[in-house]
């Protein structure tokens, strides 16, 4: 698939392209793009309260492809939502891309998401009355990007020839790739993906993962991907294991597998 064009908005002051494997910079410490310190998240009150996160400490460096791995109910999606300023933490410190998310009001959260975050969800949820290009352009307009950026984003995910198709005429994999294009057209420093292959078959899922890896490698976008699928974790630079609302381990992966070799 074609790489991203350089016409995207530049967050170069925040992002660094990942070092080539084997270079002297490969193991140099990179500044964290995500920092969590003793972060808690509780839902509900009293006897019905649920502690989804119970004091998470975590740093994710910029430019990595990180996977949050854990069983259902481990808190990984909650963690992703907090990092993406979809929900506020109950307590603790949470700094993402240099912004302290604790205490942000709704308007500030929206601005933060617009300028710093791209989201890809399991159910792509494209707008059915807009074509693929229009779905991407709708988000591009939020940040003042234009048609050419949107077309480039679609080209980057290999769907330039499907730009004028409505979602109903696209396969599940194609819809998810449009969702990826929609997320990256803003050139966000951080791309958060919640089970992006959960609704897809193996081949399509591999395509989507490859696209995400491309975004990370070529533009240095930090990707944090949530999954319960052990196999997908093998393509990550860093695997964060979670269980019962806590980070149980952070495992660097020196030899991440190409997406096409990830099999489940």
């Amino acid at each position: 698939m074609a790489g991203l064009a350089s016409k995207f908005r530049d967050h170069s002051d925040k992002r660094q392209p990942p070092p080539e494997s084997g270079s002297s910079d490969a193991h140099a410490p990179r500044p964290p793009v995500i920092t969590l310190a003793d972060v808690h998240k509780r839902y509900g009150e009293g006897a019905a309260a649920v502690d989804a996160l119970r004091g998470v400490d975590l740093e994710i460096p910029s430019g990595v492809f990180a996977v949050l791995l854990g069983p259902s109910g481990s808190g990984k999606t909650t963690l992703l939502n907090l990092v993406g300023a979809i929900e506020p933490p109950s307590s603790g410190q949470l700094i993402v891309d240099g912004v302290d998310l604790q205490g942000l009001d709704g308007g500030a959260q929206t601005t933060f998401r617009r300028e710093h975050i791209g989201f890809v969800f399991q159910f792509f949820n494209l707008i059915p009355t807009l074509t693929a290009l229009e779905n991407v352009l709708l988000v591009a307009e939020l940040v003042g990007a234009g048609r050419s950026e949107a077309e480039d984003a679609l080209a980057a995910v290999g769907l330039a020839d499907r730009a004028d198709h409505f979602p109903s005429a696209l396969s599940g994999g194609e819809q998810q790739r449009v969702a990826v294009a929609r997320a990256v057209v803003k050139s966000p420093p951080l791309l958060l993906c919640d089970e992006p292959t959960g609704s897809l078959d193996l081949a399509t899922g591999q395509q989507v993962l490859a696209t995400l890896r491309e975004m990370n490698r070529k533009r240095g976008i930090t990707v944090v991907l949530v999954t319960h699928n052990q196999a997908i974790a093998t393509m990550a630079d860093t695997v964060v294991h979670m269980g019962s609302g806590l980070v149980t381990a952070v495992e660097p992966n020196a030899n991440p597998r190409p997406a096409t070799e990830v099999v489940w």
Binding site: T77, R114, F123, N125, L126, F166
Partner: protein, 781 residues
């Protein structure tokens, strides 16, 4: 509890806003049906009871000689014929002169027909005692023992009130079908001994006819109408055509129409909402339905489950609505009969009314959800459970018709295409807007029309300030004295002749009014509104008589006067007047046709114009002139009309509020369903950085566009419905020509936009409160 039933109640709770809207519409529809249907039946029963209690005549002939009574009695189906005399004259009550009618009532025994019920006091026991009809007594503060003067041919004659009575002929006191609205302090009815009535000027002999039980009323009415024409009657009318009954019947028919219209409107809107809501629910629950079917649940259980939603909503509204309707019917009957002074009030409990109301509700509750429920049951489980289920997208009609629209920013494309995304739902929103505009236009059209009617009648047509009635023919000296009265700017003699107009097609009793050739007292408006002059030769006849008598300009018409003489006049043209159906002619022509002496003896009115200041002072001065027996101010009739309109305004206000509530409920239900369907897409946009405010503005713009789409058909349909509504009130008594002022159209359109705006408030608040973290994980439906 059965899990499916539990699911049902939880879904009602989850969609409580829309559920409440449906219940509310069903409740209103059923309550208004019950209230108006029962009121209609109670009023019919009340009137009928009065007619039975007081033996109201089935048919009346005026101006028929006594020797014709046997001819009438011989008609098959006629059981009773009673003769009496009636005279139009003047009354002097404490110095206040007014017009009055003396009705002959035998001493010592009640007549076989047209009895009176004496509520206070007793029947007269001598010719110097009278019973005063209750409306007049109330207006003039009369009681047994009060005195008043009656203008007889010999002059004023004092009589004593023996009692205050009620007559079935004057439940609504009106001198004739042409004069339905007359203030009770300007005209009233007095029942007196025949010996007294016979001394009054212009006595008319009447035959009152009673039918045999079981007689064919319609056939007899027709037969006697023809007979009356043959016998030379100056006027004849059936019970239904009696001025009082004709006026009251308009109101009663209105209740009857409303009892049909309201359930159609409200229950129809509720049904549409149920259909839209359940369609959305079924779509959202495809996966669940698929699983249930796969697990072996019977298809009829699925149908029953979704139909139950509509049924529960319908019954939740219809049952309390039916109960409220019972009370509402009683209340309306009580208020109405009290307001109009109907002497007998019949308030029955009609057990079939609430049952019919609940039946309407049940019908709506079953039919409305049926299609979506059957659609759900027919799904193939595998198809239903498939993950991807995306609405088919397409370029909007607007973009296809106007290609430059395709270059709109994506946010605007989202809005424009959102309108066509679910056509049924958008149609329902537009329908709500059409209903809102229609109800506003009908209400305000009523107001505009009646305001124009009043202006037309009392400014353009009736130009006199005061009308005097004299004991004898108007003399030159009297005319000179009237003209010389301070404040009087013009005075003209006017002849008012009670006549029958007849052609081969039929006959009609009315007044032939003779004016001086270049009268300043009356404006003549042709159909279409153009002013016409009173012709020197020929009559101007009201447009209402064109079809009644089969008349055209240039036709001859037979004029029969109160003394039975006939003459032929030419119809020179037609006039169109809001109140009454008169014939007009220049005095010289009328004299030529009917004879100078006959006309001059009936020239007992003087119309007066004043300089506008202190018309009561002028009235008082004119009352003192010799020979004047009644003085009627035009503005007192206008005040009566304004009072009458007060009730109307209440009715209009109620209609307006109901319409607004109905439109709000329907539009709210469809808009909230629309937004709920897109909640996941919208949450994804929020996650991408679009603010709640931006999303709110998109939703608002889409729905305001829908409102705009609904405005034009709404205004057109509203106008047509208003015209139909007005036409249903029109008759020879009233000509309601629909007038809707331009500002009323603008106001109706704004009201629709306001209804949409208000409907959006709860929905937009919900959009702002959505739990993003939960919603973004859901699959869009």
């Amino acid at each position: 509890m059965n899990p499916l039933r539990r699911k049902l109640f939880r879904e009602m709770r989850r969609h409580r806003g829309q559920f409440a809207a449906i219940v509310f519409m069903a409740l209103l529809g059923t309550a208004l049906f019950g209230g108006s249907f029962d009121a209609w039946r109670n009023l019919q029963a009340s009137y009928n009871q009065v007619f039975v209690d007081l033996n109201l005549a089935d048919y009346t002939m005026a101006g028929v000689a006594s020797d014709k009574a046997q001819t009438v009695a011989a008609v098959n189906g006629v059981a009773t014929v009673v003769e009496r005399d009636v005279a139009e004259t003047g009354l002097d009550i404490g110095g206040h002169l007014l017009a009055g009618r003396l009705v002959g009532y035998p001493l010592g025994q009640a007549p076989a027909l047209d009895r009176i019920r004496v509520d206070t006091g007793s029947l007269p026991d001598g010719p110097d005692q009278v019973v005063v009809e209750k409306h007049l007594a109330g207006a003039m503060g009369l009681a047994p023992g009060s005195t008043l003067k009656v203008a007889l041919a010999s002059g004023w004659h004092q009589v004593t009130v023996s009692g205050i009575g009620v007559s079935a002929e004057y439940l609504w006191p009106a001198p004739s079908r042409q004069q339905i609205l007359v203030p009770s302090d300007e005209w009233g009815v007095v029942f007196a001994a025949p010996e007294l009535v016979d001394q009054a000027p212009s006595v008319s002999h009447q035959l009152l006819v009673g039918y045999a039980p079981g007689a064919d009323r319609a056939a007899l009415d027709s037969q006697l109408s023809q007979l009356a024409t043959n016998l030379g009657a100056t006027d004849s009318f059936s019970r239904a055509e009696l001025a009082s009954n004709a006026a009251l019947k308009e109101d009663m028919d209105g209740f009857g129409e409303m009892s049909f219209m309201f359930p159609m409107l409200f229950l129809g809107a509720a049904g549409l909402t149920v259909y839209v809501l359940l369609g959305r629910l079924v779509r959202a629950q495809r996966g669940e339905i698929g699983v249930l079917l796969a697990l072996g649940l019977r298809r009829r259980a699925i149908v029953s489950h979704y139909v139950s939603f509509g049924l529960v909503a319908a019954l939740a509204g219809a049952i309390p609505g039916a109960l409220i309707g019972v009370g509402l019917g009683d209340l309306v009957t009580t208020l109405y009969t009290g307001e109009l002074g109907i002497p007998t009030r019949v308030v029955n409990f009609y057990p079939d009314t609430p049952l019919i109301g609940i039946g309407f509700g049940l019908l709506m509750g079953v039919l409305a959800p049926l299609a979506p429920a059957v659609r759900a049951a027919r799904m193939s489980p595998g198809e239903a459970m498939r993950a991807t289920s995306v609405s088919v997208g397409e370029i909007s009609l607007a973009e296809r018709l106007v290609p430059p629209l395709r270059r709109l920013p994506e946010r605007w494309k989202l809005i424009v295409r959102g309108i066509g995304r679910n056509r049924l739902r958008s149609g329902a929103t537009v329908l709500g807007i059409v209903i809102a505009i229609t109800l506003v236009l009908v209400s305000w059209g009523l107001l505009d029309t009646t305001q124009v009617l009043v202006d037309q009648q009392f400014v353009q047509i009736e130009r006199q300030s005061i009308e005097l009635t004299t004991l004898g023919p108007v003399s030159n000296s009297l005319l000179a004295e009237v003209t010389a009265t301070p404040g009087v700017t013009a005075a003209e003699p006017v002849a008012r002749l009670t006549v029958g107009l007849s052609t081969a097609t039929g006959s009609y009793g009315t007044q032939l009014v003779g004016f001086v050739q270049d009268t300043q007292m009356h404006g003549f408006l042709a159909p279409g509104g153009a002013a016409v002059q009173l012709p020197a030769s020929g009559l101007l006849v009201d447009d209402a008589l064109r079809s009644k008598l089969g008349l055209a300009s240039g036709d001859n018409v037979t004029v029969t006067t109160s003394d039975g003489s006939k003459a032929t006049a030419v119809v020179a043209g037609f006039v169109h007047e809001p109140l009454g159906a008169y014939a007009y002619g220049a005095l010289p022509y009328v004299r030529q046709v009917l004879g100078q002496q006959s006309v001059d003896s009936q020239t007992r009115s003087v119309m007066v114009r004043t300089d506008g200041a202190a018309s009561q002072t002028v009235r008082d001065a004119l009352s003192k002139l010799p020979g004047v027996v009644a003085v009627v101010r035009s503005d007192s009739l206008k005040s009566l009309l304004d009072q009458f309109m007060g009730l109307f305004y209440v009715f209009v206000g109620v209609m307006f509020v109901l319409g607004a509530l109905l439109a709000f409920a329907l539009i709210y239900a469809t808009i909230s369903a629309n937004v709920a369907e897109r909640s996941v897409e919208l949450a994804n946009l929020r996650a991408s950085g679009m603010s709640a405010g931006q999303i709110g503005r998109m939703i608002t713009t889409e729905n305001l566009l829908l409102a705009t789409i609904g405005i034009v058909p709404g205004l057109i349909i509203g106008y047509l419905v208003s015209a139909e509504f007005m036409a249903s009130f029109s008759s020879d008594l009233f000509a309601f020509d629909l007038v809707i002022r331009p500002l009323s159209f603008v106001a109706a359109a704004l009201a629709a936009v306001l209804a949409v705006g208000l409907s959006l408030v709860p929905t937009l608040r919900a959009v702002g409160r959505v739990d993003l973290g939960t919603v973004v994980r859901e699959r869009a439906t």
